[in-house]
């Protein structure tokens, strides 16, 4: 049973992949809400910043963003006289969360715009401030609508973590590559690797569906 000896390094890598997925998903969600809400802002400066952020991170390749943060940003720091060298784990998490956050921002914007205008009018009639309207009226109704897309983005993010192995982070894909270099047993290792990612994706999908059911209770009329 040769493949049993591969499980220890692969599980070690899988743990890094899980951590990366969790952290970048959380950070990505924050970016998604910040820039998704920002894009709907009446303030042209905030709106412009949000649009620029979304276009740049959706319009370029994730690997380009990752390499830029890891290889080019330190050079940029040198030019402006600031130390901008990031450790691989920071560059990786940041690139993943900025990228997925830009996709998420469009989901947030779409769901917020889908909240019926009458809801905003009613809030106004009841003398809610814009902030109260956003937090208490619009978001609780919009978030359940975002969940199916967020589920897809979470899977996308899990798959994207494999790319951080290219800047030397010891994730699942990286460990597998190490084991393969050592044993040359490509078929077994890559088959194991595919099934491990598939397994993690199934668990993540189940978790996102649970989350979807939980926030589904926020929908109007479900109390």
């Amino acid at each position: 049973m040769q493949w049993l000896s591969y499980t220890a390094p692969l599980l070690e890598g899988a743990w890094v992949t899980v951590q990366l997925t969790v952290y970048s998903s959380i950070l990505g969600t924050i970016f998604a809400f910040a820039f998704g809400i920002g894009k709907l802002s009446a303030n042209w400066l905030i709106k412009g910043l949000a649009v620029a952020f979304i276009e740049v991170f959706r319009g370029t390749s994730l690997l380009v963003q990752l390499f830029w943060l890891y290889f080019a940003l330190p050079v940029f720091g040198q030019v402006i006289g600031v130390d901008l060298r990031l450790p691989a784990v920071a560059a990786g998490t940041l690139a993943l969360s900025l990228n997925i956050g830009a996709y998420g921002a469009e989901v947030v914007r779409g769901a917020l715009q889908a909240v019926p205008v009458a809801q905003h009018e009613a809030a106004k009639a009841l003398d809610f401030t814009p902030r109260q309207t956003l937090w208490r009226i619009a978001l609780p109704q919009a978030i359940p609508e975002m969940m199916p897309s967020f589920g897809n983005l979470a899977i996308q993010n899990l798959k994207d973590t494999a790319l951080v192995s290219l800047i030397g982070l010891g994730d699942l894909a990286f460990r597998a590559e190490q084991v393969r270099n050592f044993t040359q047993d490509s078929t077994t290792i890559y088959s194991l690797l595919l099934f491990m990612y598939f397994g993690m994706a199934l668990v993540l999908t189940a978790f996102m569906q649970l989350l979807e059911r939980t926030v589904g209770r926020w929908r109007a009329g479900s109390h």
Partner: protein, 230 residues
């Protein structure tokens, strides 16, 4: 110097201008990989969609499982699998073809869903009307369903074409000389990563914005009720 084109490191602007023609060589490879990957994804996706809509569960069920498996595993790993495992079984392909195949495989899972959604968007009444007019199942599909599904399918496929283009840099791991790989080589040799990598980002942004604009204008031009047959 790369591809026989020298660079000028006297100042930043001169450097940026001098490496542009080198990056364009990489850009051509990126476009080629995108095109080939898209063709594979479009055809393979059609096969998967046809299988999934089959009445027989023995055909539909494996197709669903394959789609799910492809969607849930990273392109990078699929690429490694094809690149290192296929030769063990006697199929040796050049890196570029393996890369395009991996892109096509990954996106076939997505395109198959596009076809399925497009076909399902044709209303039940249309199919019942075709039935009432005594059209065969094949003729119903060809002259009723397909012309109405196409305007819905094309823009969605266009979006995946853009996604494929953004995934091409992954092919650099099997030494395909696409644009990002070229930029990295320039960076490795000149110790200046900022300018080549920023230029690649800028070129990507221009390409995706142009593509998004093209898809939008195509979308507004496609007849919403379907392609007229006569």
């Amino acid at each position: 110097m790369l591809f026989g084109i020298p660079w000028d490191t006297s100042n930043d602007w001169a450097f940026a201008v001098s490496i542009l023609p080198i990056l364009f060589k990489g850009l051509i490879v990126t476009v080629q990989a995108t095109a080939l990957g898209f063709v594979v994804a479009a055809i393979l996706g059609l096969v998967l969609a046809a299988m999934k809509s089959a009445a027989s569960r023995i055909i539909a069920w494996p197709a669903r499982l394959i789609t799910e498996f492809i969607r849930d595993t990273p392109l990078l790993v699929q690429l490694f699998f094809l690149y290192y495992v296929l030769p063990d079984y006697g199929l040796v392909l050049p890196a570029f073809l393996t890369g395009a195949l991996a892109l096509g495989l990954q996106y076939s899972a997505y395109t198959s869903e596009v076809y399925r959604a497009g076909i399902e968007s044709v209303t039940r009444g249309q199919i019942e009307a075709a039935h009432a007019l005594d059209l065969s199942a094949l003729r119903t599909f060809v002259i009723i369903i397909v012309p109405q599904a196409i305007p819905r399918i094309i823009p969605a496929l266009g979006n995946y074409l853009v996604s494929i283009m953004k995934d091409v840099p992954v092919l650099s791991v099997v030494s395909v000389l696409e644009m990002l790989n070229v930029a990295r080589i320039i960076g490795d040799r000149t110790f200046n990563y900022l300018i080549p990598l920023s230029l690649v980002g800028l070129l990507y942004l221009i390409m995706t914005l142009l593509a998004a604009w093209a898809i939008r204008s195509l979308d507004t031009r496609l007849p919403k009720d379907g392609i007229p047959l006569k």
